[in-house]
């Protein structure tokens, strides 16, 4: 029975996405290939002082990304450090240095890891003038980089790969903003709060007292999902009834998370002049997503650990209105994209259910991945897949008419090494350095044994992949974790972006090689299977030992 509901849920999401795939994908194609700037965009370019007509080399594009992002970290850090004196501060004091750094790094990198508990830390101004701003622009940065890489494949003999400021502005103003306004209004109509009242004290039905936090939730909720950001207005994130009051808002939020990453494969297909190439990437994404979702539902419904067996289904940390199926679908969506929003507490999942969420991230978040990040992630994997296939048949590997030479392979290999190294190093140091270990055991862990180890693994996996979800029992607001995770999100974001832009630069310079009978096809089922295999192989081999110590051991003991 639970499988019937699960398959219907999956089918419903698939149908909705299929319906918006073409219009949204084509719209984004038009946005990034249009010649004309709109009037307010001209005004923005003038204020910022950039020439929108000028193409940038990959290095200039990267300087734009880094300059903008560094300034974003700085502004967001300062905003938190002075929040007490800002309007709508709700009386909260200024945020401490390490925590402010961690939060700033995390929101600028589209991670939205939350070491802080919003309900007791942040006033409304930091949320809407700081965090929400990054929800828009960090998403736009990711999409811009992905579009730059696609141009590398699509353009020939070009020194430039587009203009960062134009991509950033158009993505924010023409894609993210209009969708947020429309869907945000719908969310309010369905019950998501949107006000500037502070705490409201009431006498309850039974005559007790209750304090209820309010806030401008809907305007932030919508971009949090659409931009695959994931930072909750409240501590309980999308399980808080003011963020996600019912099954309809839950459905909308799931669709919002998937809409852009999925439709970008269409934009990609249009830009390289062959929509079937986009279908192939999408095929691999759907397979990985579907298998993972069914595995979570199975684990949550039929595990034989004491809690699940005792209660007949895992409801600890889940909301009544979502149950196992719609919590599982939200969680799979959130960890397969880089959102990291939660409508259930991943820490309280069964060992194997929680492991699937980790695995979604460990695959490099390509099913379908974060906005932009998912597309450039899977394109790098496609390059690797083509290379491996080329080695097997002894032919020079090509993808989309571009030769995959030593330079391209170096960029691709470095790309997929960054995340695992960051994760494994972060986890190891947390237990190897005496002061770090002390703070982990004394303060951070909420669970013992293997599950406690999983909390730390999940944290670094989430940070290095810019996901932001957590085994949230972990207290991450300690000097060690604030700093280590803050660095992990920065490394996990900007090193891969630099490598992707370098790859884009070297691809754009090449001419296209003509397609011959000997060219390996990358738009058929065989390639989809190969791609899934390569993605799985790379991550499974890297992370198997880590998973064996955490969730696998926990699941087997129980």
């Amino acid at each position: 029975m639970v499988y019937l509901f699960a398959i219907m849920a999956f089918a419903l999401i698939a149908i909705i996405l299929a319906a918006i795939y073409k219009p949204l994908g084509d719209y984004m194609f038009n946005v990034f290939t249009a010649d004309k700037d709109l009037f307010f965009e001209k005004w923005i370019y003038k204020v910022v002082g950039v020439d929108s007509r000028k193409g940038q080399t990959w290095k200039a594009y990267l300087r734009g990304v880094l300059g903008f992002s560094l300034m974003s970290v700085l502004v967001l850090y300062l905003l938190q450090r002075v929040q007490h004196w800002l309007p709508f501060s709700l009386g909260f004091p200024n945020v401490e240095g390490p925590l402010a750094f961690n939060t700033a790094a995390s929101f600028v990198t589209n991670t939205n890891w939350q070491s802080y508990s919003p309900d007791v830390t942040l006033g409304y101004t930091v949320q809407f003038a700081g965090l929400a701003v990054q929800n828009f622009v960090s998403a736009a940065v990711g999409i811009a980089v992905a579009i730059a890489l696609v141009r590398g494949f699509a353009w020939r003999k070009s020194e430039t790969i587009g203009n960062f400021w134009v991509d950033l502005t158009r993505c924010t103003m023409r894609i993210l903003m209009p969708i947020s306004i429309v869907m945000g209004i719908i969310l309010i109509a369905l019950g998501v709060a949107q006000n500037l009242a502070g705490f409201v004290d009431v006498n309850t039905v039974a005559g007790d007292t209750q304090r209820i936090m309010q806030g401008p939730v809907a305007s932030q909720e919508v971009i949090k999902e659409l931009g695959t950001n994931g930072g909750g207005f409240f501590n309980a994130n999308s399980s808080h009834p003011y963020e996600n009051p019912n099954m309809w808002t839950n459905l909308i939020e799931i669709v919002l998370m998937l809409a852009i990453p999925v439709a970008l494969t269409r934009t990609f297909g249009r830009m390289v002049g062959d929509i079937r190439q986009g279908y192939a990437l999408l095929g691999a994404m759907v397979i990985l997503f579907g298998v993972s979702f069914l595995a979570v539902v199975t684990a949550e419904s039929f595990s034989d650990d004491p809690i699940t067996a005792l209660t007949g289904g895992s409801m600890e940390g889940k909301e009544t209105r979502f149950g196992i199926v719609w919590s599982g679908l939200f969680g799979t969506t959130s960890t397969s994209t880089s959102t990291g929003a939660v409508n259930s507490m991943h820490d309280s999942y069964t060992a194997l259910g929680g492991m699937m969420y980790m695995l979604n991230m460990m695959l490099g978040e390509v099913s379908p991945g974060g906005v932009g990040a998912g597309l450039y992630g899977i394109l790098v994997m496609a390059v690797v897949a083509v290379f491996i296939a080329g080695l097997m048949v002894g032919r020079t590997p090509e993808y989309l008419g571009k030769k995959i030479g030593p330079r391209e392979m170096k960029m691709a290999s470095l790309y997929f090494l960054v995340m695992p190294i960051t994760v494994v190093l972060g986890v190891s140091l947390s237990f190897a350095l005496p002061f770090a270990r002390q703070s982990i055991f004394d303060t951070s862990l909420n669970n013992d044994g293997n599950h406690g180890f999983s909390e730390v693994v999940y944290a670094f996996t989430s940070a290095a992949n810019n996901n932001g979800s957590a085994f949230a029992g972990l207290t991450a607001d300690t000097p060690w974790l604030d700093t280590a995770l803050g660095l992990a999100v920065l490394i996990g974001r900007f090193l891969p972006i630099a490598l992707v832009l370098a790859l884009a630069g070297s691809l754009a310079k090449q001419d296209k090689v003509p397609v011959t009978a000997g060219t390996m096809r990358t738009d058929n089922g065989l390639f989809v299977v190969l791609l899934v295999f390569v993605i799985f192989l790379i991550s499974a081999l890297t992370f198997f030992p880590t998973l064996a110590l955490g969730p696998l051991a926990e699941g087997l003991v129980a």
């Binding site: 974003s72 700085l74 719609w326 309280s348």
Partner: protein
């Protein structure tokens, strides 16, 4: 070298100005959305607050409440909510849960000894309270929600509470069941979400009945 550095400074300056521009735009967006919500649908935008017959605000239909006495024991005339981990630092230990300024789950894993002990004991206690066997106590009754503010319970948990509430209030079980049905929401289109009973609205309606 000099060229690279000057280019860098320029991109930082441009980056700074861009951050400010987008900040202004998003502030305008937030206030516009708040205006639309406040003018167009104030009840929803202001948190779906509930009022009783006297017109006093008694909470929100979206935010769960405790129906316990100061020792944390169930008030027998009310349907009981799920366990909650949203605790108020200013209230004492026995009387916790549903503090809607610190939403939270327990975040305990399934191997946690305390969780197993609590669930086992709670299951027994609820079975005794409602006069049913332990295997009839549904999962949501003994599991804390994700937000700690879940306003709803499963129809199965509501069903085993009907007899106690009816007896305590001197109502017939049919009367209570009719009210339970009124505050039950089914699955959307037959398969979206899970069926739920809103405990806050149900208990408020019971109080207004007399």
């Amino acid at each position: 070298m000099k060229n690279t550095i000057s280019l860098n400074m320029r991109s930082y300056w441009a980056g700074f100005k861009a951050v400010i521009v987008f900040t202004v735009i998003v502030i305008v967006y937030t206030f516009a959305m708040t205006g639309i919500g406040q003018l167009g649908m104030p009840a929803k935008a202001n948190g779906s607050m509930l009022t009783n017959a006297q017109g006093e605000v008694v909470g929100s239909s979206l935010i769960g409440q405790s129906f316990t006495d100061e020792n944390g024991d169930a008030l027998p005339q009310y349907f009981q909510s799920r366990p909650s981990a949203a605790s108020d630092p200013n209230k004492d230990e026995d009387n916790q849960g549903y503090y809607a300024a610190a939403s939270s789950g327990t975040n305990k894993g399934h191997a946690d000894a305390d969780l197993i002990k609590n669930v086992t004991e709670l299951r027994k206690a609820i079975a005794k309270r409602e006069g049913v066997s332990a295997k009839d106590v549904p999962a949501d009754a003994v599991s804390a929600s994700s937000s700690g503010l879940d306003p709803e319970i499963s129809p199965a948990y509501a069903a085993i509470q009907v007899r106690r509430v009816a007896k305590e209030r001197g109502l017939s079980e049919e009367q209570v069941e009719t009210l339970v049905r009124k505050y039950t929401t089914g699955r959307g289109l037959g398969f979206i979400g899970e069926p739920t009973v809103n405990v806050v609205e149900l208990n408020l309606a019971l109080d207004e009945l007399k």
